[in-house]
């Protein structure tokens, strides 16, 4: 167990180091110079050169990399030469926004997908099961932003129940924070639950004919109770894997929903930073994403061992 944790941590650190090089290199290959953008049209080459000097982008790449890399381990992303502010608190702020949004959406998606997927599996040859499967296909086919627009036009514009967009931090007003969160969370969760329903369904279907379930049924348990007591834990592993992958993807993938609902999350920050060739900010955001993905993977790995003692023993 300890060995497993240790090797996981070592892999985590190594992956992060490799990621720093990959991210840094990719940003340097991207066409477009931050100094040219900052100087604007009509700028003389001297102005562009002075800006590049001020930004430090005229230094050797190794120096630039080392400068950034050494700061990372102190949790210091440096000062963006485009925004002229400290990157770390800004990224921390946006991470919070994205994590709130995505965690709530995934929780809601799971709350819908687990019962719906189980029902779809248990009743797979009945109309209700087929209906759930069909609905999940439809849900996957609808892009999240479209669902968002439909939700806005119905709940915000027609009924006037909820605000159409915007973000209010919880400390600024909790009810306002909640009311602005409902529609984007619904839009994200709608699509995610449709995806997850299929995985839950196939996972439950996969274990329904296992011997231990038949034994449980033979002891007198109803199909659902037998599943709940003996089956779901086994079915949880593939679902957990998919959930973790979806979670990491959604942190940035939510950018489309962020745009529809004007939410200042990590995805929007990344998009703006790429547009301005704010290389340091892009690198920092991507590193945070890599770290989140790796942490989620690490946690999921730990959860596997809790869920399945066989993995613990191995």
């Amino acid at each position: 167990m300890l060995l497993r944790l240790g090797s996981n941590l070592a892999r985590f650190v190594l992956s992060l180091c490799v990621a720093t090089i990959a991210v840094f290199a990719m940003m340097r290959v991207l066409p477009g110079d931050p100094a040219v953008i900052a100087a604007g049209e009509n700028a003389s080459p001297q102005i562009v050169a002075s800006l590049a000097h001020q930004f430090g982008t005229d230094r050797p790449l190794v120096v630039q990399y080392w400068d950034w890399f050494s700061g990372l381990w102190r949790g210091d992303f440096g000062i963006s030469y485009v925004t002229r502010t400290d990157i770390s608190p800004l990224v921390a702020d946006k991470v919070q926004v994205s994590l709130i949004l995505v965690t709530l959406a995934m929780a809601l998606a799971l709350a819908i997908a687990i019962p719906a997927g189980t029902i779809a599996a248990v009743r797979h040859n009945k109309p209700s099961g087929t209906l759930i499967s069909a609905l999940s296909q439809l849900g996957i086919a609808i892009p999240g932003f479209l669902l968002g627009i439909v939700l806005v036009s119905f709940f915000a514009l027609r009924l006037g129940w909820l605000p159409a967009n915007g973000w209010v931090a919880p400390v600024e007003g909790f009810s306002s924070f909640l009311s602005r969160l409902v529609l984007p969370v619904m839009a994200l969760a709608g699509v995610q639950s449709a995806i997850l329903v299929r995985y839950v369904r196939s996972a439950v279907l996969g274990i329904m004919h296992e011997d231990y379930l038949r034994t449980a049924r033979a002891k007198g348990l109803s199909p659902l109770r037998a599943l709940a007591k003996h089956g779901l834990r086994n079915a949880a592993i593939p679902v957990l894997t998919v959930t973790s992958v979806q979670f990491s993807a959604l942190i940035i993938g939510a950018v489309v929903i962020e745009r529809v609902f004007v939410i200042p999350g990590l995805g929007s920050m990344l998009l703006a930073a790429v547009g301005n060739r704010d290389l340091l900010t892009v690198q920092s955001v991507v590193m945070v994403l890599v770290a989140i993905t790796l942490i989620v993977n690490l946690l999921v790995d730990m959860l596997y061992t809790i869920l399945d003692p066989r993995i613990r023993a191995a």
Partner: protein, 507 residues
């Protein structure tokens, strides 16, 4: 059988529970939502394009001056809605006989938001700073003509020019003329210090900038005390926010197709003004086939500008025929120079031996550009020019390839700089590559003359340029704003780089 009934009951119970939770969630949240009540002291304006920082002395782009000029920063002079120059921090000014020196009399009692008094020393400091290495914005060249600045008294200052220049006074109304305090320039990117009616109160990056009226403002106090500038990446989100009452004004709207919802609703007003921005179909005058005047003229005859505007921008915007907006003093309607005439275009192409020519059309990733590109492409195809559209990320890639490396044949861009006709055409190294030998002498003479000869001379210059057809000015970009009906004082025209908030009020 019993087990199945139980299971069914369980499912039903779960569904009911989920429905109840959802209903509760919705009802508890609806309390804080809905249109907000109107506070006469507050205003929320929806804008597109957030500034990356607040320092226009080292960062180009329209977003910073839009938020800060007129509101936080002021110049000695300003322009009104018709484009005429009027006093601001200078109450009056005089020029010498040769038009080489301007003596400004300054307002008394003006202060900066950091408490420092505004006087002639600040004028000297600000102008000299533009000329120094501290300013790293391409627009600083507007101040090249200044020889020196002499402080006569705390309220009088003389600016001496190296040659007479009509254009310089106009430049002083733009961001290069902004007045700074020597002790207030340490952190311009985050802490702007100006003499304007507002000061920055907070900036939630990625979301909004809040401005608060200064109680110690030297001029007439603005009616609205708290202004929030909210930034939207998506045009539909702005109209949604206006519909639900989250914002009061959408300024410089980028999606005219969304206007119909508001133009028929008495709760809103739609303002259609003009701007300094020209949608320019630019041709690289230094490379084939556009190094041949006949091919460029053929393009101008081939394109039905009215159809382009009507299709791409819902018929909004002004047709002008030359790269000069109607609010410029030397504007004249030149639409008749190159009327839509595909037959003539074909004849010119045949004459130039450029029939069935293939070109690359580099289109920046901006709404107006993609809206315009395809109809231009199809009209060019009708006369035998095969334009292949390639997209270039704006600004990063477009600035790099088209603007700096001149690596393009045809492009389309919104040229937003005010009075930029000489910037574009009086410099052969500019990306358009227009041979300025025919106009440079006349442009210099016009700039050196008095107002009348300046206007007459510039009209000649513009006619010469238009005849050479270095670009096709498709239309002048409209300034479209939508506001709640109760708002007054919002300027329809965008003749400066600023959104002036101090004149806006609730009726």
């Amino acid at each position: 059988m019993q087990a199945r009934t139980k299971a069914r009951r369980g499912i039903r119970g779960a569904l009911l529970g989920a429905a109840l939770t959802a209903a509760l969630l919705l009802s508890s949240c609806s309390a804080g939502a809905g249109p907000q009540s109107t506070d006469p002291d507050s205003l929320t304006v929806a804008l597109t394009g957030e500034p990356v920082n607040l320092d226009f002395t080292t960062t180009a782009g329209a977003a910073i001056p839009q938020a800060l000029m007129s509101n936080v920063y002021q110049g000695l002079v300003a322009v009104d809605q018709t484009g005429a120059i009027k006093p601001l921090l200078a109450t009056s000014w005089e020029t010498n006989q040769a038009n080489t020196s301007y003596t400004f009399t300054l307002v008394a009692g003006a202060t900066f938001s950091n408490g420092a008094a505004f006087d002639a020393q600040d004028v000297k400091f600000s102008i000299e700073r533009v000329k120094s290495d501290a300013w790293l914005n391409g627009l600083k060249s507007k101040m090249d003509v200044v020889k020196n600045v002499v402080v006569n008294s705390p309220t009088s200052v003389t600016v001496n020019l190296s040659r007479p220049s009509q254009a310089w006074l106009y430049s002083m109304t733009t961001l290069v003329g902004a007045m700074f305090d020597a002790s207030g320039v340490a952190d311009l990117a985050n802490t702007p210090v100006g003499t304007g009616p507002y000061t920055l109160s907070s900036w939630a990056r990625g979301d909004s900038i809040s401005l608060t009226a200064r109680p110690d403002y030297w001029g007439t106090a603005p009616s609205i005390k708290n202004v929030k500038l909210r930034y939207f990446a998506d045009a539909i989100a702005t109209t949604n926010a206006l519909s639900t009452g989250d914002v009061d004004v959408i300024y410089n709207m980028q999606a005219p197709e969304l206007l119909s919802t508001f133009s028929t609703n008495p709760d809103y007003q739609v303002l259609e003004g003009t701007s300094n921005g020209e949608i320019i179909l630019s041709m690289n005058n230094k490379v084939a086939p556009f190094d041949d005047k006949r091919v460029r003229q053929a393009v101008l005859y081939a394109i039905d500008r009215q159809a382009v505007r009507d299709t791409a921008w819902n018929g909004l915007g002004t047709l002008v025929g030359a790269p000069v907006p109607p609010t410029d003093p030397y504007y004249e309607d030149l639409n008749s120079l190159y009327p839509f005439n595909p037959a003539k275009a074909k004849a010119l192409l045949k004459d130039a031996d450029a029939e069935n020519v293939k070109i690359t059309f580099t289109v920046p990733t901006r709404p107006y550009a993609s809206a315009v590109a395809e109809i231009v492409q199809s009209q060019l195809r009708d006369v035998g020019i095969d334009a292949k559209i390639t997209s270039a990320e704006f600004p990063a890639v477009w600035l790099d390839t088209v603007f700096n490396k001149h690596n393009y044949q045809m492009s389309v861009v919104l040229a937003v700089e005010a009075r930029d006709v000489l910037t574009m055409f009086n410099n052969p190294d500019y990306y358009i590559g227009y041979d300025n030998s025919k106009i440079s002498a006349e442009a210099a003479a016009a700039d050196a003359g008095d107002t009348t000869s300046y206007i007459a001379g510039m009209k000649n210059v513009v006619r010469t340029i238009a005849d050479d057809a270095p670009v096709d000015t498709l239309f002048i970009f409209p300034n479209i704003s939508v506001a709640k009906a109760g708002i007054t004082g919002l300027g329809a025209n965008s003749v400066t780089e600023a959104l002036n908030l101090s004149t806006i009020a609730w009726s």
